[in-house]
């Protein structure tokens, strides 16, 4: 099976801070269980969403199966005052902050009750255009710093996003302003059907950090503790005035880009199966069970809680009346022009 050169390099360059003398990155058992609960929540959200899509209950959906270690691990390093800037691949990341599943399901159903106030959760709106939310994270982090507030901004984006101008402009702005920002690149090596070697000649995406004068690290994107460790270090650096960090989380996309995509036309199917066998949640569960932190009963309970949450979420979403047509006009302006209802 061909193994792309950049993946071998990425493996060689893996830098985790799971130090041998510090068990599980210094996390207490309760933290490990909470991290596990969050991964289960995200996994369940994703798996149920694919089902709901097939049942015609939500629209086209961007799958993040096996990206849970990145999303849960990186955000576990944040405090509540810190901000998360998701791309559509992290649509459900607000779940780790308690954002209701119903709200996110409604977003995918195209219902206006899927809108939330970013300031209520410190989770920005889901950004659909690629990389254009990276400058938002830079601006928020810089703006908070100017106000003497402590917040860190963490932005998520994929490998393809690093080719966009706004990735560059956003990270550069954050670096120049020494803004407390953490940039999490989810390098699943595919931008829909475009492989990483067609995206960049860089040896690793973390190397791009050099151009901005900031630290760049590469971690195993399926190792939740490695992601957490790198993020914790980056958050501490940001909060203490050390500026932004770029963290590249490497893995291999093990699911379609979205429900509308059939990757068999372009992806290495055997490699995908291999990735699925080594998926991040099972890997973490085995680690915690071996260490005596987690039990099979506890896994089943976490899964059931998450499934209950999803059942309640989709039921609440479906029970909601259709959107009031008035909403077309309500939110476009605070103070709308007189004639803007003319269609």
């Amino acid at each position: 099976m061909p193994s792309p050169f950049w993946c071998e390099l990425a493996s060689r360059r893996m830098a985790t801070d799971t130090r041998s003398d510090v068990r599980f990155g210094g996390l207490a058992d309760a933290d490990l269980l909470e991290l596990h609960r969050r991964m289960v929540l995200l996994r369940t959200y994703d798996e149920r969403s694919v089902v709901y899509h097939r049942q015609g209950r939500i629209g086209t959906y961007a799958i993040f199966w096996n990206h849970e270690a990145i999303q849960a691990g990186a955000t576990f390093a944040l405090d509540d005052e810190d901000w998360i800037f998701p791309s559509y691949r992290e649509s459900a990341i607000g779940l780790v902050r308690g954002l209701p599943a119903e709200t996110i399901l409604q977003w995918w159903r195209g219902h206006p009750s899927g809108w939330w106030n970013p300031a209520d959760w410190n989770v920005a709106s889901i950004s659909v255009p690629i990389a254009s939310h990276v400058p938002h994270a830079a601006g928020l982090a810089w703006g908070k710093k100017l106000r003497g507030e402590n917040a860190v901004a963490m932005a998520f984006f994929g490998d393809g996003a690093t080719s966009e101008g706004e990735f560059h402009e956003g990270v550069n702005l954050a670096a120049v302003m020494n803004a407390p920002a953490v940039f999490i690149c989810n390098n699943n090596q595919w931008a829909i059907s475009t492989p990483l070697e067609a995206q960049t000649r860089a040896e690793s995406l973390a190397d791009k950090a050099v151009g901005y004068g900031i630290p760049g690290v590469t971690v195993d994107g399926l190792d939740v503790l490695a992601v957490y460790g790198a993020a914790r270090e980056a958050v501490e650096r940001a909060r203490s005035g050390g500026g932004p960090t770029l963290i590249e989380c490497v893995h291999y996309r093990a699911a379609p880009h979205a429900t509308a995509d059939d990757p068999r036309a372009y992806i290495d199917v055997a490699r995908m199966e291999e990735e699925r066998a080594n998926e991040c949640l099972g890997r973490f569960e085995r680690l915690l069970i071996d260490a005596g932190v987690l039990t099979a009963d506890r896994v089943a309970a976490a899964r059931k809680d998450a499934e209950d949450l999803m059942r309640a979420g989709i039921a609440a979403a479906e029970a909601e009346p259709p959107a009031d047509p008035e909403l077309v006009f309500t939110h476009a302006y605070v103070d709308p022009p007189e004639n803007f209802r003319n269609g």
Binding site: A119, P129, P135, P337, N339
Partner: protein
């Protein structure tokens, strides 16, 4: 009242608003140390510090996207785009985020940012320093657009834009930055968005213009015996349809003047609105005098820009129709 040039009035507005509201900050390329390439931001960095008048990297999308994040952090950013055409790299931010972020929060978060830029031709500048991009902005939902033609309006509209809860683009006619002089109220001065100005009353033809084309219309009106009413619309969105329609009801003849290219220019929108609302008042077709559907030809700019002769040709055609 002080007599100021138009660009001095812009500077006055920025000083006044930064002093009034500590959430207001200015950011852009060369706005701090240099005080702006046209000196529009002169003195702000010294007076308010480098955190409230910020020289940013040369990256317009990052600049505007950064301003979106600044809004989320509670700031009221005033972004300078150094020239009209330099704003094009930021259109992605404008269209995909600035105009719709409030919408996607269900109206729960506001983005009260202002984008200001010098626009238009006639200043013997190189390519892409001469464009009139207002139609791109007016066409974008969620955005408001103002264009002053006098120093007092430049101050008042900019102050209103900064205080407006929605994103506002203010295009400043660079051709008359220093040649347009006039009395400007001292201290706080607001010109509400959405109110046109009758530059002069008249009974035969309505000339509708904005920005640098207003004084050109005045020159044309001075040179003809026909009684021209000149409407400076000042605000393209919200648009003061009432004032425009009242003038059309009086004169029955309309010539619209702008220097932007003709096709889908703002004149087309004005003409459509007028015929929808006032067809029975019209005694002649609505004519447009505009730039051409070509790149702005900077060595031939006076062939391209509407001038009094072209306006008078149109006036004659509507009067003799």
């Amino acid at each position: 009242m002080a007599e100021l040039t138009l660009v001095e009035a812009v500077n006055d507005a920025l000083h006044t608003e930064l002093a009034r509201d500590e959430d207001v900050m200015v950011l852009g390329e060369d706005v701090g140390r240099a005080g702006g390439v046209f000196r529009a931001t002169a003195g702000l960095r010294d007076r308010f510090g480098p955190d409230r008048c910020v020289d940013t990297p040369l990256a317009e999308a990052g600049l505007l996207g950064g301003a979106v994040g600044l809004c989320m952090a509670g700031w009221r950013p005033v972004v300078e785009m150094q020239y009209d055409a330099f704003s094009y790299p930021s259109l992605n931010q404008l269209i995909t985020h600035v105009g719709r972020y409030r919408w996607r929060t269900g109206g729960r978060m506001q983005f009260p940012l202002t984008i200001r830029m010098p626009y238009g031709g006639g200043v013997r500048a190189p390519e892409l320093h001469d464009d009139s991009p207002e139609a791109y902005y007016v066409h974008t939902p969620g955005i408001k657009v103002a264009i002053p033609s006098t120093p007092a309006d430049a101050k008042g509209l900019l102050a209103a834009a900064i205080r407006d809860p929605d994103p506002v683009v203010v295009l400043e006619p660079k051709l008359v930055y220093r040649t347009s002089r006039g009395e400007v109220p001292e201290g706080e001065h607001l010109v509400p968005l959405g109110e046109a100005r009758i530059v002069r009353g008249g009974s035969d033809v309505t000339l509708i213009a904005y920005g640098a084309m207003v004084p050109v219309c005045e020159q044309a009106a001075d040179a003809v015996a026909v009684s021209c009413e000149i409407v400076d619309i000042r605000s393209l969105r919200p648009l003061d349809e009432r004032t425009i329609l009242a003038s059309v009801a009086k004169t029955g003849r309309v010539v619209i003047v702008h220097e932007a290219p003709r096709t889908c220019g703002f004149g087309a929108e004005l003409a459509a609105t007028i015929q929808e609302r006032a067809i029975l008042h019209l005694e002649a077709p609505i004519l447009r005098v505009t730039g051409f559907d070509t790149p702005f030809p900077y060595t031939l700019e006076h062939e391209y820009l509407p001038d009094p002769d072209r306006i008078l040709d149109a006036v004659e055609r509507v009067v003799t129709f």
